[in-house]
């Protein structure tokens, strides 16, 4: 369950990662590792909730994956934006430090 709390010009997010997440299927057998693109799905979901309408990612300016995320981890972080150009900066952390950071551009999903 993803929690999104508006804060300033962005938001705080919290996601308790469980082994039931379908994203772990086949990634990898006996060694579940969250696919890196799951962070992008989290951002699109958070942007949708913040805007109150369906949002999607049209560009990934940068994405850096620094730490693996596994079942039982707690992902929390900050979002800054989106600004007038749709740029959303993010820093998602797990115990020990940043798991993923970068900048994406979000747009209306059905524009």
């Amino acid at each position: 369950m993803l929690e999104v709390s508006p804060a300033g010009g962005g938001a705080h997010v919290l996601w308790e990662v469980t082994g039931e997440c379908a994203c772990f299927r086949g990634h990898f057998e006996g060694d579940p590792l969250l696919p890196g693109i799951t962070h992008l799905a989290l951002l699109a979901d958070a942007a949708t909730r913040l805007a109150g309408r369906a949002r999607t990612i049209s560009e990934v300016k940068s994405l850096r994956l620094r730490r693996p995320v596994r079942p039982g981890d707690r992902v929390h972080g900050t979002l800054e934006g989106p600004d007038a150009d749709g740029r959303l900066r993010f820093d998602l952390r797990v115990e020990g430090g940043t798991a993923a950071s970068g900048v994406v551009v979000v747009v209306d999903a059905f524009a």
Binding site: I37, L63, R66
Partner: protein, 138 residues
């Protein structure tokens, strides 16, 4: 590289495996057949978010680096940049094509410019992805 061999080189299993066979290998590049399964967790109403192209590109990049040695090699997506998605979503259940071209690798880190095309050859996504490959099976 036939489909079975391509599958053996990637540690992903269905529905996470998105690259299924290598169509062509040239100096510093591969061209592969990709396919997003309809039962993929990313698929809704027959389509997946365009950012799934980054995972497709990462798997193709891993195949480019899977030269010798038996068994799968773990490859971890560690970064992406300059990803553009002219299509907001990707069709699932159809053959796609992905091309990964070396863009300055320094093993075990491999960086490639990737292009994902639809069945009609239209570009759906472009990006630069970086994958960290282990030296042995994993």
């Amino acid at each position: 590289m036939p489909e079975d061999e391509a599958a053996a080189r990637l540690p992903h299993s269905p529905p996470a495996r998105l690259v299924h066979s290598l169509r062509e290998r040239t100096e510093g590049a591969v061209r592969c057949r990709a396919h997003i399964p309809l039962d993929s967790p990313w698929v809704r109403d027959g389509r997946a978010p365009a950012f799934v192209a980054i995972e497709i590109g990462a798997q193709a990049t891993a195949l480019l680096g899977a030269g010798g040695g038996p068994g799968p090699r773990a490859g971890y997506l560690v970064g992406a940049r300059d990803a553009r998605f002219p299509a907001r979503s990707l069709p699932a259940g159809v053959d796609l094509e992905v091309e990964a071209r070396d863009a300055g690798s320094a093993p075990p880190l491999r960086t490639c410019a990737i292009v994902v095309r639809g069945p009609d050859g239209v570009e759906l996504a472009t990006a630069t992805v970086s994958v960290y490959a282990t030296q042995s099976g994993g």
